[in-house]
Symmetry: C2
């Protein structure tokens, strides 16, 4: 847990995921001037523990009068603090109906941003809608496809300010599961990168995506027989998995204007991968999009209260 | 650990994998009349612990004179009891050169069956070569492709008594990693099956294998939005993963005579999957092929000693 020195916040922005909790103290002009984070993710909390987990981070920022918190992410799921029912596509990324969480503290008001659902094919997001709203707040007439790489990467078609359709890929989670919980844990280095190995593996997979199941064990066998090093293995595994994703997501990126909202270094891997396909994406930082999206939600909340 | 009542063995057959150790007491006519197993797999043992782990199982069967043990599997790997260097394809499944393990017990002789390597594309097997040898001992003029489903499924082209080429797929390990260490753990039941869900998912994946990366998260989303039940999710995940394997292994099974050496229920899933592709495989039980293969190795050892 880290926390900057306490000062009253005009309001507080919160991104509450499955594994992490992040909060930013916001001033009246809409800038964040302090931040705090902890590992009290939604996945480790019972419903009655959310308020304490939040107060541990934000108490130094609370005003003498009520402070408003606007939060996005998994805290709005059925297993979270309060269920914020999904909006359904096509819809604007920020629903007008933020959901108030039950709070005991007399000086705290917490509002949760709903996620978005798509009935066919079934898909859901919680948190990414806020990043998309942040991006569209900065780029109000932007049409195209937004890629949000992460544990569960999303490809999102946006038109006229609305989310039209989207698809989720478990690419990040597959990478983690394979490198921690399969025989590849002996082969893939924990850090390091090699562009050529990544791009070769990506190209192999995009040209013959039906071969993906045959490629994974080859990393182990090449390490055993031919001394494949762990850094190359890491970059190749990423190339196979991102290549498999791009093969399946082709309708989303082919001939489209693309923005990538993500953290480094992964956002950079997607940029490289798309560029060799002739697509030149715009890259933006995910955390700033989250804050901007939460600020948009907060300003609408002020307008309606 | 389980162990039948002690009686002298003519020799002892051992299958020593990464997670399990199995031993069979064999009589002079080549039949197993007692068995024992423990969870002292290769992965949990240091080199100097193998002999004790084996003696814990087989001491009741030891003769008053020296007893021969013939063993296959991961105990022959670099991290095992003694490294038994790979034979290289094309080669007969059982190398003539069994490797003696270092043993302190005065009445014990342990011989290890070498695995098989393929340099290009890089691939390795340890244990499956013994099952293949068992199958070929029972079917001496058989040519075709042998599929050995498991944690690491192997597809093996056999001709004129030799292993010509093979390819490994991490299908079983992927299934375990996804159902234990990804968001799908909330969605996929630990047991149960639905043929229709399996076959639909298999057919989807075989007709559009490039979509595999898009299918996995759909299980989670359909459970959240449309109440997909855990048993269907389990069968569908198997269908996606086996479908992806069959798509990549097509050169191995298309137009070939196929034998599946495996345990139930998984061998049955492969039978179903192949039958809808118009292939009618022969199914054999993996444990009996292991014992038969080890008996073949033992009889050759006797002939050379």
């Amino acid at each position: 847990m880290s926390n900057s020195r306490g000062t009253d916040a005009d309001w507080i922005a919160v991104d509450w995921g499955t594994t992490n909790l992040r909060a930013w103290a916001m001033n009246a002009s809409g800038s964040d001037y302090a931040s705090a984070c902890s590992s009290d993710g939604m996945g480790s909390l019972a419903r009655d523990q959310f308020e304490d987990a939040l107060l541990k981070l934000i108490t130094p920022w609370l005003q003498t009068e009520a402070t408003t918190v606007v939060a996005c992410g998994m805290l709005g799921s059925r297993q979270g603090w309060v269920e914020a029912p999904y909006a359904t596509v096509p819809c604007t990324p920020l629903s007008d109906r933020l959901v108030a969480a039950p709070v005991a503290h007399p000086l705290l008001k917490v509002y949760v941003v709903p996620g978005i659902r798509q009935n066919t094919p079934a898909d859901v997001m919680r948190g990414e809608e806020t990043q998309i709203a942040g991006f569209l707040a900065l780029n109000p007439h932007w049409d195209g496809v937004i890629c949000l790489p992460g544990t569960h990467t999303k490809w999102v078609l946006v038109s006229a300010g609305e989310v039209i359709s989207f698809q989720t890929f478990m690419t990040g989670e597959l990478f983690t599961a394979l490198t921690r919980h399969s025989v590849l844990r002996h082969t893939v280095a924990a850090h390091g990168w090699q562009d050529a190995a990544f791009l070769d593996a990506l190209s192999d997979t995009l040209s013959k995506p039906e071969r993906i199941a045959a490629r994974l064990f080859s990393l182990r066998a090449e390490a055993l027989l031919h001394g494949l090093d762990g850094t190359s293995a890491r970059a190749r595994l990423s190339g196979y998995l991102i290549g498999s994703e791009l093969a399946a997501a082709r309708p989303y990126w082919l001939g489209q204007q693309i923005a990538v909202i993500g953290a480094q270094p992964v956002a950079g891997y997607y940029r490289q991968a798309l560029e060799v396909q002739g697509v030149r994406p715009t890259i933006t930082a995910d955390q700033q999009m989250t804050i901007t999206g939460l600020a948009t939600a907060h300003s609408r909340l002020k307008a309606t209260v």
